[in-house]
């Protein structure tokens, strides 16, 4: 039986009708049409489904949609403002941190959650934040570089 789900997504209010067994990932992709968040493994092992819920990075494939009730959700689609890329997106683009791009939204959201909480992370802090995000293409080197760049830009300020 469907239940009402009220939540804020990328700054906008939504009221949805959702059955309890639907995951947050499914609802984000199918009901909200926000396909930027990806289904990689469905078991919390790859991080491609990472979104930010009430300021915290979570793996949406392991979360029931109804558990997001009353909360604020951010997905990759909510990052660029009026055509201006978020610094993380810009760094990923400029520094070659993207190849096939499937892991990219999850990597960026996990990084954003880190930087929102800790604007000047160390290299190990970044690795801790991305410890559960899989990338098969890049070898992670340029992903780490891109996030570090944004972190050091913040340090200069």
């Amino acid at each position: 039986m469907k239940r009402e789900l009220e939540l804020k997504v990328n700054g906008e209010d939504y009221t949805l009708e959702v059955e309890p067994h639907r995951t947050l990932l499914e609802v984000v992709r199918n009901d909200l049409g926000l396909t930027g968040t990806k289904l990689g493994c469905g078991g919390g092992e790859c991080g491609a489904c990472t979104v930010i819920l009430d300021g915290k990075a979570v793996k949406s494939c392991l979360m029931l949609a109804l558990d997001a009730k009353g909360k604020e959700l951010w997905t990759i689609e909510g990052l660029a403002k009026g055509g201006d890329l978020h610094p993380l997106q810009r760094a990923f683009v400029q520094q070659g941190a993207i190849q096939c791009g499937f892991c990219t939204p999850g990597m960026i959201m996990a990084s954003k959650a880190l930087l929102d909480e800790n604007p000047r992370p160390t290299e190990q802090d970044i690795k801790d934040a991305l410890a559960g995000n899989l990338c098969r293409c890049t070898g992670y080197v340029k992903i780490l570089d891109a996030v570090s760049t944004v972190a050091s830009e913040e340090r200069k300020r």
Binding site: T35, T37, C100, R136, Y140
Partner: protein, 755 residues
């Protein structure tokens, strides 16, 4: 004369990066095709069984189920990327041969309903004994997996006289090496959307590396004319060779679409991907090498047993390719090769980055290290002594055009601190290993050609649309083609619209494999651009009253060399042509002429060009746990002229980590045909904290035939890693592990046995 390029050699961000960074790039699972149904496949729970009966009636009656197909619908069809070897039915007819073998397909309003329907399909099996080891399968009296027996092919090759060479050798080394089934582990599992519409047109949305050959495969298997088949390659979540053939999924979907009249989407779960997706072929390699005491390699005698799995895919061509690769490294003058490709009741392998080279290179490079030690030589000197070189002809008659191998060896040896760290006590060590690989595809698959066709049209504002049948998997080929076209025409990369992946809107190309994208499609792009450039320059010479030979294209204008003020904007020329009703277009067709079997007159043959590289690693081994820590990793690759350093580095880094995984950690573990580790956690893929300090060195041995001297890089990056790691571990703690992956347990056991 050193040319300063405006776009070539620049670290240009990839042209599709924005779409990917903003989440707007649509991958297969993101597409919504009107009327689309969702499919699921019923797979065999048995490794080997007869199918006595399949009853789908209850499934068909389930509300929301729109169609069910079985082997009755696909009867007689056989699939394989090499058609004459095809023995895989899209849906089982009377027998299943591995756990996961497809038996039925269901299309329903939702994946959930389709899944439920699978539980309602009743299958009666008669379980048969299975064989899971290739040597067991070779024994007389072994369980027969196919009518013809368990040997898919026996390969035998002979170049020179190995017996004579062995007699002349001062030392002979004989070793056995074993490699495992590595998985591509693309983050996006495989799948397709297939639609046979009311007019009889077939559209396949798919993650494929080879849109045009794939289109032909589908058309041939279904008996359809090519113009009725459209293949659309969408954004792909990784490839690495895993998308280099037709999968039963697409044919099953075709029949479901035929039955229902609707588009059918089937996407594997990661569990299905782990248990039924293509793997790298496990091999057992017996390698016998004869050398003189001064280190000259005289002969190589290799026996390979390839575990083919249950059906044919790339196993035969890969194993043939390994035979060729045995003639590559270290200028071996005499070579004998024998191989058996053997069926077992396990999932069947397929193409994977390196195409057999990682397996054989692990064997060759481990043994080289052992040879050097026995001869009392420094391993790097043994390599340099036998190194391949420009102008060389291999014992198979293949000609090496450009070669930066020596450079690669010397550079990594210096960067890793070889002299200071090699053969030192403590538990640290360094090791090297090299690779020789094709850098431009080969004329072996898909007919006797290695071609790419590119069309470019220039719009009346000077921007261009470039259409190529190449496939962008994430490796950056679209961007590279844009850079090549932009450089040739004096444009910027943002002036280039690259159209790839759709067989209806792009010209013929064999696709992305064999590290051929830049070499073959790049050359075609350059040719197409040159045709337009000739027209631009001709027009400009009239406008500027200058000689054609004095004009260059750069910065969006045509100007007189040395006098940039005397110029005309390209936009202006394009407008003039447009107003005249002329067509500013170019076509480039590059079909590399190198035949695989050497030409008897020229002696020239093989592949268009070779890519070389050397990896050096420094490791520290914990003697109490066997755990390996990679302290430093240096990868030098000779890729001809680097088109885009940032993207090239990304390829090296990505493939290096795959190589490290292959060396130390990854591999499917089977028991009686059951995959015991079908997830990222237990398969042991590496994450960000496992990445060692890495340095990429690019050696540019300018290739005479590549576009701007470029050659391929897609694959070599993971080929030598396992050998380098094995050699470094030996240097660190004196144990030689000859089977992959080199796990902590293996190392610990070997250390204890030594003590």
């Amino acid at each position: 004369m050193v040319e300063e390029y405006s776009v070539i050699g620049k670290s240009q961000p990839r042209i599709d990066a924005m779409e990917k960074a903003t989440g707007t790039a649509k991958y297969l699972g993101d597409l919504k095709i009107p009327g689309m149904l969702f499919g699921k496949i019923l797979r065999s729970p048995y490794a080997h069984a007869k199918i006595l009966k399949v009853d789908t009636s209850r499934a068909e009656r389930l509300r929301g189920v729109r169609g069910v197909v079985t082997g009755r619908d696909t009867k007689g069809m056989r699939l394989c990327v090499i058609p004459h070897l095809a023995n895989k039915p899209p849906l089982a007819e009377d027998r299943v041969r591995f756990i996961g073998d497809e038996i039925a397909g269901v299309a329903a309003d939702s994946e959930e309903i389709a899944e439920e329907a699978l539980d309602l399909i009743e299958v009666e099996y008669e379980e048969l004994p299975g064989v899971f080891d290739s040597f067991e399968a070779l024994k007389p009296g072994a369980v027969k997996i196919h009518e013809e027996g368990n040997v898919a092919i026996h390969i035998s090759r002979n170049y020179g006289d190995v017996e004579k060479a062995f007699r002349e050798s001062d030392h002979i080394f004989e070793d056995r090496f074993e490699t495992q089934a590595q998985l591509h582990c693309c983050l996006e599992p495989h799948g397709s959307i297939v639609h046979l519409d009311q007019s009889g047109n077939l559209t396949v949305w798919i993650t494929t590396q080879i849109p045009h050959p794939y289109r032909k495969m589908v058309a041939d298997v279904l008996g359809m004319p090519l113009n009725k088949v459209r293949v659309i390659k969408v954004y792909m979540g990784g490839g690495f060779g895993g998308r280099f053939e037709m999968d039963p999924i697409e044919i099953i979907s075709y029949f479901l679409s035929k039955k229902t009249g609707r588009p059918i989407r089937i996407i594997n779960t990661q569990d299905e991907q782990f248990t039924t997706g293509r793997t790298r072929y496990p091999m057992v390699i017996d390698i016998k090498t004869g050398v003189k005491k001064d280190g000259t390699i005289l002969a190589r005698d290799v026996k390979v047993v390839t575990d083919n799995g249950a059906y044919n895919s790339h196993g035969i061509t890969i194993t043939m390719g390994v035979g060729t690769k045995c003639t590559y490294l270290w200028s071996v003058p005499n070579m004998r090769y024998q191989a058996d490709v053997v069926f077992t009741n396990k999932v069947y392998g397929g193409a994977f980055r390196g195409y057999g080279n990682p397996q054989i290179t692990f064997a060759i490079e481990s043994q080289m290290d052992m040879i050097a030690e026995k001869l009392g030589m420094d391993a790097k000197d043994l390599c340099l002594k036998n190194a391949n070189y420009e102008g060389q002809s291999t014992c198979m008659g293949h000609k090496v055009t450009s070669c930066g191998l020596k450079d690669c060896i010397e550079k990594v040896v210096e960067a890793i601190g070889w002299k200071e760290k090699r053969r030192k006590p403590e538990n640290r060590g360094v090791g090297i290993a090299s690779v020789m690989h094709t850098g431009g595809g080969v004329r072996l698959l898909f007919g006797d050609c290695n071609l790419s066709d590119v069309f470019i049209k220039m719009n009346n504002d000077g921007t261009i649309d470039l259409a190529s049948g190449m496939a962008e998997l994430g490796q950056g080929s679209d961007t590279a083609l844009a850079q090549i076209a932009a450089e040739e025409l004096g444009l910027r990369v943002e002036d280039v619209n690259v159209i790839t992946g759709d067989t209806s809107t792009t010209p013929q190309c064999l696709g992305a494999w064999g590290s051929r994208e830049i070499f073959i499609a790049g050359n075609a792009t350059k040719m197409a651009a040159e045709e337009i450039k000739r027209k631009l320059i001709e027009e400009a010479s009239k406008i500027l009253e200058a000689r054609v030979d004095d004009l260059v294209a750069r910065d969006r204008k045509i100007y007189v060399r040395g006098n940039p003020e005397k110029s005309v904007p390209i936009t202006q020329i394009a407008t003039i042509w447009y107003n005249r009703g002329n067509i500013l277009a170019g076509r480039g067709c590059y079909d590399d002429p190198t035949t695989y079997i050497p030409d008897s007159k020229t002696g020239y043959g093989g592949v268009p060009t070779y890519a070389f590289g050397t990896h050096a690693v420094e490791v520290e081994v914990d003697r109490n746990t066997g755990r390996v820590k990679v302290l430093n990793f240096i990868a030098a690759h000779d890729l001809g002229k680097v088109i885009n350093p940032m993207l090239a580095e990304g390829q090296i880094e990505g493939s290096a980590l795959q190589g490290l995984g292959y060396a130390l950690s990854e591999g499917l573990i089977w028991e009686e045909g059951i995959v015991l580790n079908p997830n990222f956690q237990d398969y042991r893929i590496f994450y960000i904290n496992d990445v060692p300090p890495m340095k990429s060195i690019m050696v540019e041995s300018v290739d005479p035939d590549g576009p701007y001297g470029a050659k391929g890089l897609g694959e070599p990056g993971l080929v030598p890693t396992a050998g380098a790691i094995a050699n470094a571990i030996y240097d660190a703690v004196g144990v030689r592990i000859k089977s992959l992956p080199i796990t902590s347990e293996k190392i610990l056991r070997a250390i204890k046995e030594k003590e």
